[in-house]
């Protein structure tokens, strides 16, 4: 049992936690809910020794504990899966899993065989069928997330804290993770679980604690509450859940892709993208659904000029054939690409918010316009309700969901004609999500074309006018809005 009494923690200009109280029980899944920036991740970091300068007491099985490091927390049986991926790209999966817990033989030499075979077992548990020798840098975000989970499973813990472990996973992997959690729960472990996905919380969580602006505003049993009730606790008012899109008439073709093929970099006779043909119209939102590894991200990357060296096929914009050889060229053709991994691809973490938003719109060989940049940033802070003390806050200091909004802002500010979104609402809370849905719908209404990749079926269904399903680099099905259900989508994706 893990208890907290009056925990408070501040950052310069931000009271992240104020007198937070809770009890997390062994043998239960304890959910923490709250909007972006509510203080959830900070709370977990306080509990695991990442931050030591907090007020209040942490009690583990009734005894007061203070952890001076993450390692100390681990030794006391408290493990964590962080919201942001913390793997070392240049090391292999096995090396990452065993980082800091290496297995050595009697001479102190690393026992690679042992580590690899145990990594392979752990990977099997999380259903990731990749060799443990693979370098992490070649993995997609979702796969990295699975490696993080495998890494957490390596260590025997009594309490396992999970900060949005499913934000980058598709339904299949989520089910698998839920299976693992059920097992851990049966072993009497206390699981603490953060997620913005309501339906999953109702499936697996036993208790809930809701944070709002760093304070506990509610707690209880999941079975005694409703989604609407939880949301109103989180937001402080009622929120409309967006209805499914009914589809609408679209204009001329703005983007056309013909016979796109992308060979696998190492395996012969295999294509990451296999004969892709698609048309995107003005004012249309085209959803692309698929499981992990289906080639969704590769498709967007290829259109954006990232694979131009190996790519075969044709791209037409407004009927004219174009050769997109780099992101710059893509940008000049009115394309924008919101990438999947905000930390490694989206943000310069050490720069402030306004500089990050400005990155896409700077003109070569000109002077910076600090005033204008700040004004733009302020506009988006307002429009997307980014929670931050000011526009000069460093990106690294924002909460995960708010970072995501900054990446969105930086592309919105290029006023693109064709907007490609790869998991645009990853880690974004339910209230902000519906605002972003509105925004996307409005962009489409004003004649922009939108290509939406998402692992969340409800998101695809809520926004798309048309849906393509991808599997193993191919397009396997196409549906109009309103004529498809979750089950059919999933079936076509396998």
């Amino acid at each position: 049992m893990l208890e907290a009494k009056n925990i408070s923690k501040s950052f310069p200009g931000v009271k992240a936690l104020q007198n937070v109280n809770f009890t997390f029980y062994a043998g239960k899944v304890n959910a923490i809910l709250g909007e972006n920036g509510a203080g959830k991740s900070t709370l977990l970091k306080v509990l695991t020794g990442v931050y030591q300068d907090y007020e209040g007491d942490i009690l583990l099985d009734g005894e007061k504990v203070t952890f001076e490091s993450v390692k100390a927390a681990q030794l006391a049986g408290v493990g964590i899966i962080h919201q942001e991926l913390n793997l070392i790209p240049s090391l292999s999966i096995a090396e990452n899993i065993f980082l800091g817990n290496e297995v050595k033989n009697t001479f102190g030499v690393l026992n690679d065989m042992e580590m690899e075979s145990r990594s392979a077992e752990l990977l099997q548990q999380v259903n990731l069928n990749i060799s443990p020798n693979t370098k992490v840098e070649s993995l997609k975000v979702g796969e990295q997330q699975l490696v993080e989970i495998a890494k957490a499973l390596l260590i025997e813990t009594h309490v396992l804290l999970m900060d949005e472990p499913t934000s980058a996973l598709t339904d299949k992997e989520i089910d698998r993770l839920h299976g693992i959690i059920a097992k851990l729960k049966a072993e009497g472990k206390a699981i603490v679980y953060i997620s913005h996905k309501m339906d999953e919380l109702f499936r697996i969580a036993d208790t809930y604690t809701v944070l709002r602006d760093g304070q506990t505003v509610g707690a209880g049993e999941m079975s005694e509450t409703t989604e609407a009730n939880l949301i109103s606790l989180m937001v402080g008012r009622e929120v409309q859940i967006p209805p499914k899109s009914q589809g609408k008439a679209a204009g001329e073709v703005s983007l056309k892709v013909e016979n796109l093929n992308l060979p696998h970099p190492t395996i012969k006779n295999r294509n990451l993208l296999d004969d892709i043909n698609l048309e995107l119209r003005k004012g249309e939102i085209l959803g692309i659904f698929g499981l992990m590894g289906a080639g969704r991200t590769e498709l967007l990357e290829s259109i954006f000029g990232l694979n131009s060296r190996n790519l075969q096929g044709e791209t037409l914009i407004n009927g004219e054939q174009v050769k997109i050889s780099s992101p710059q060229v893509a940008k000049n053709h009115g394309l924008a690409f919101l990438t999947e991994d905000r930390k490694s691809e989206g943000l310069v973490l050490g720069m402030d918010l306004s500089a990050n938003i400005g990155l896409t719109t700077l003109k070569n060989g000109t002077l910076l316009q600090a005033g204008k940049e700040a004004e733009t940033a302020k506009k988006y802070i307002n429009e997307l309700s980014i929670k931050t003390p000011s526009e000069s806050q460093l990106a690294v200091n924002l909460s995960g969901g708010n970072q995501q909004k900054v990446v969105l802002a930086k592309w919105l500010d290029t006023f693109p004609e064709i907007l490609m979104l790869d998991e645009p609402t990853r880690g974004i809370d339910i209230n902000a999500k519906s605002e972003i849905y509105d925004l996307i719908a409005k962009l489409a209404e004003s004649g922009k074309s939108i290509l939406l990749v998402s692992s969340e079926i409800p998101e695809i269904l809520a926004l798309s006018d048309r849906i393509l399903v991808m599997a193993e680099g191919k397009i396997t099905a196409e549906f109009k809005a309103g004529e498809v259900t979750e089950e059919i989508l999933l079936k076509k994706a396998i």
Binding site: S326, L347, G365, L368
Partner: protein, 320 residues
């Protein structure tokens, strides 16, 4: 912003403390002749280090600055001394001081651009590419000078390194201009913003549509140019281009950059910080000579100071 100021005041404080200690130990330090002398010496390292700052901000490194300095100086001196002769055309071109200097800068620029080209085109780590340039340029210098200094370059050329303007040594003016221009470039232009962005997260910068390779190319080009400026100052001060000029200058300039608070992993740091770093090293060098410390001990002390500076820097970052 505040943190930056705090950091700068910290290193400024260290500089003053150093000056104070040396003043207490030697009465030769606080004399106008000595101080001008120190400033004149610092100017060279400032020019080189400002270029190095741009490179390091981008998470790169340039080990070739010392050799580039030597080669561009040698070319400059050679042209001033004996001009260009095309025997087959029976043509002789003499060079004015301005012409010689411009060619030196051009040579520095080209060598820097070559560094940048190799780094971006073949994805060779900057450390390796510029290490190669370090020996190539040094070898080229030896070939060009045949290992013999090129001296007596004329009094108007000598004026650049030894002359005064409005009561201040000319090299100090020149380095001041270099600093002001680069402060402006790093803080106020999109090019400067690109440098910080690439150092902070190259992938994100690339995906934002920034031409990362072109920025890199020019930054290495600038670093070469500024090494050449340093070369002109050294050469004209001595009125002679030495084949082994600038040996191990890359170390002093990396030290100045690091002491000035620029992170070797890129994205963080300032040109003005580097200037303070260069001043600390310059004053230290001067003080050690004035105090008659043996050259061997000088090196040990200098190394110790670099370590200390970086440790303090890390500490103040960690506590934040």
């Amino acid at each position: 912003m505040n943190k930056e100021l705090l950091k700068k005041s910290q290193s400024l404080l260290a500089l003053f403390a150093l000056c104070l200690v040396i003043t207490l130990l030697s009465d030769k330090f606080m004399t106008t002749t000595n101080l001008w002398n120190v400033l004149r010496q610092i100017s060279v390292n400032v020019c080189i280090s400002v270029g190095m700052t741009l490179v390091v901000l981008m998470a790169g490194i340039d080990l070739s600055v010392g050799s580039v300095l030597a080669f561009s100086s040698a070319v400059c001196a050679g042209l001033l001394k004996s001009g260009l002769e095309f025997q087959s055309f029976d043509l002789f071109v003499g060079f004015t001081v301005l012409g010689g200097v411009l060619v030196a800068l051009l040579v520095g620029l080209l060598m820097g651009l070559f560094n940048g080209f190799v780094i971006t085109k073949f994805s060779i780590p900057p450390f390796v590419a510029t290490l190669a340039m370090l020996t190539i340029a040094r070898g080229a210098t030896m070939l060009y000078t045949k290992g013999i200094p090129i001296s007596n370059l004329g009094s108007s050329f000598e004026f650049i390194g030894s002359g005064w303007l409005l009561g201040i040594p000319l090299p100090v003016w020149i380095s001041l201009i270099v600093v002001l221009v680069m402060v402006f470039v790093t803080k106020k232009t999109t090019f400067g913003r690109y440098i910080y962005a690439i150092g902070g997260n190259e992938k994100a910068a690339f995906l934002s549509g920034i031409n990362v390779n072109r920025v890199k190319l020019w930054v290495y080009g600038l670093a070469g140019t500024m090494a050449a400026i340093g070369g002109v100052l050294v050469t004209s001060r001595l009125n002679s281009a030495q084949p082994n000029a600038g040996v191990s200058y890359e170390l002093d300039s990396i030290a100045a950059v690091v002491i000035g608070g620029t992170s070797l992993s890129g994205g963080v740091g300032t040109v003005t910080g580097t200037v303070i770093g260069a001043a600390i090293i310059g004053v230290l060098n001067n003080g050690l000579v004035l105090l008659d410390v043996s050259p061997f001990w000088q090196q040990v002390v200098k190394g110790g100071v670099i370590l200390l500076a970086v440790i303090i820097d890390r500490k103040s970052k960690g506590s934040k």
